[in-house]
């Protein structure tokens, strides 16, 4: 007979295993946060843990599509996700988010009204805005002396090999649609066919595609112009005001990154506490200090310094209205194919 380990040993082993797993199972003692990279200051996360004892596991992604793919794949049960508006819209339509309990979120009064009840979540049932940004043009005015007012100026032949753009097929196509005068969410075969020759010309002049940190190549002097996230432009301007930010005259859109609780979240209570913490003016200000996107929290904006509020990339002057991305169904694949094909053609 094969000697079996004594039952006492087995019980002991199970007990040890149980002890090891116990902290993992305790509800609302931790939050699995799935958010953009370069978006949460460490001090903000640590401040919450210090105050509440709730640990935050911050897992990052680099594009809204990547977030969606990993969230749908299962794996981790996320308690909070941070999709951009058009991905949030798709999640809401597919009933993949948990409605928020506003009795636990009195701080929502701090959010400026123009950032509530937007197209992606018209009843504001599922999402809270985190940060907002436009997408626009950065110019190194020490190297580029001519005035740049729009996308046609940016992609002109004289700047060939001096341009960085975000590595995002939809952003590129949207820029082309603006120049052609089409609405940014009308993605169809005809409009893409018209955009194609324009994009083919532009893409020959682009030196670098980078969504993670387009500011790096501008700072390094490898390129002199960019079509980048407003928050990246704001950090460049704060570093050196020679980096001017231009909202393209042909048209510009803004994106809203929101916080939401996905179906299947295990720590809904703790997630609400973290959301309420983020709504606090001083916490939201601390986020703006490190990541100077457009802060939708009006009370937090009051706390910003005059220099921070004067940053043209964070708070574009004037009162232009910006479009937002809507969820694309099947047509999304056409965009990806077009850009892959064009990248390949050069």
């Amino acid at each position: 007979m094969i000697p079996l380990p004594g039952s006492r040993v087995i019980i002991l082993l199970l007990a040890v295993l149980g002890l090891a797993l116990a902290p993992l199972r305790a509800a609302n003692k931790e939050i699995n946060l799935f958010a953009w990279s370069e978006y949460f200051p460490q001090s903000v996360l640590e401040g919450f843990t210090k105050e509440t004892g709730i640990r935050i596991n911050y897992e990052t992604f680099a594009s809204g599509e990547e977030m969606l793919a990993k969230m749908l794949a299962g794996g981790t049960a996320y308690d909070l996700v941070q999709p951009p508006d058009y991905i949030a819209e798709a999640l809401i339509k597919n009933r993949l988010l948990v409605p928020l309990d506003y009795t636990k979120l009195p701080g929502v009064k701090n959010i400026l009204p123009e950032y509530l009840n937007m197209a992606h979540d018209p009843e504001q049932r599922y999402t809270l805005p985190y940060m907002v940004s436009t997408v626009g043009i950065v110019v190194n005015t020490e190297r580029v002396k001519e005035p740049i007012t729009g996308l046609v100026d940016l992609f002109s032949p004289r700047y060939a090999g001096r341009i960085v753009v975000v590595d995002d097929a939809r952003e590129l196509v949207t820029a082309a649609l603006y120049v052609l005068g089409y609405p940014l969410n009308e993605i169809n075969t005809k409009n893409l066919a018209e955009a194609r020759p324009l994009l083919a010309q532009w893409m020959k002049r682009i030196k670098l595609y980078d969504s993670d940190s387009p500011k790096t190549a501008l700072l390094n002097g490898d390129v002199d112009l960019g079509y980048v996230w407003g928050g990246e432009a704001a950090r460049l301007w704060a570093e050196n005001p020679k980096f001017a930010y231009v909202i393209p005259k042909e048209g510009a859109h803004q994106f809203v990154d929101v916080m939401a609780i996905p179906q299947g979240a295990k720590n809904v209570e703790a997630a609400h506490r973290f959301l309420e913490y983020l709504l606090r003016p001083e916490v939201s200000k601390a986020i703006s200090d490190e990541f100077p996107y457009t802060n939708p929290n009006g009370a937090a904006r009051q706390l910003l310094t005059p220099e921070q509020r004067a940053n043209p990339a964070s708070y574009p002057p004037g009162d232009r209205k910006f479009g937002t991305f809507r969820h694309l169904g099947e047509t999304g694949a056409m965009i990806d194919e077009l850009i892959t094909d064009l990248k390949n053609a050069r």
Binding site: E66, L68, A69, A90, L208, Y209, D222, A333, R346
Partner: protein
Amino acid sequence: MHALADTAPAHGGRRAGVVAWLLLAPLALWLLLFVVVPMAGLVVYSFCQRDDLGRVVYDFSWENYARVFDPIYLKILGRSIGYAALTTVICIVIGYPVAWYIARQRSPLRERLLLLVMIPFWTSFLIRTYAWIAILKSEGLLNGLLQFSGVVTAPLSLLYTPTAVVIGLVYAYLPFMILPIYGSAEKLDNALVEAAHDLGAGPIRAFSHVIIPLTWPGIAAGIMLVFVPAIGMFAITDLMGGAQVPLIGNVIQNQFFRARNAPFGAALGVVFTLLFILTYALAHRRRRATTA
């Protein structure tokens, strides 16, 4: 292969015993869990479709395979093979003399030189790639040096070019070429080279007729270790090539995340893998034909 089969009986019978299977079990399990099962999943996915969120829908379709053979993707595959082949050739040209030199040294020095080849692995691959960005960027170390010494007046545009991609690839894979060649060169009996000289072979003839054939197993292993992974590499093209020109690795990665089209990504992956198996089988058959 032949030698192994011939000597095996002397070591206790042809039939693999229970012990042998037990010893093999961890490897077999590992292969099953992390190669066979994922590969099977990939094959299943490749015949599926996606819904508008990008979730896999289990409806049978040939569509993904039809798309793989679209000229767009064939061209990308061709370019990837070109980059990988160039990388492999450069790795052999640089790596062979290094490996040969190290193998010919006396013991303590030899181990130290070998250590130098391996030291870069102690740092994360991504950090080493970022270091190259610091070297090649237009206000970087290399341009600074060239301008300071007066070789060039304006900074050279090195980063975000195909050249930068090849530099990155060669840098990443060079040790994988040096180590197997070293292994072969170290075992090479110097008496054979001397015999070649005694029989009247000059240095070139001795090299091409004696040294190369005897170190060929190392070169062949190096080619497999460099060429195959270099085709699928995507991080270097993104970071050092500026994501301008897609290689097949980038396209596959994009399908799984940005484009959220896992079935198409899976089809690309399956075709890609079949291609490797085919190449390997052909190479193997030719080698057997030449040794037989």
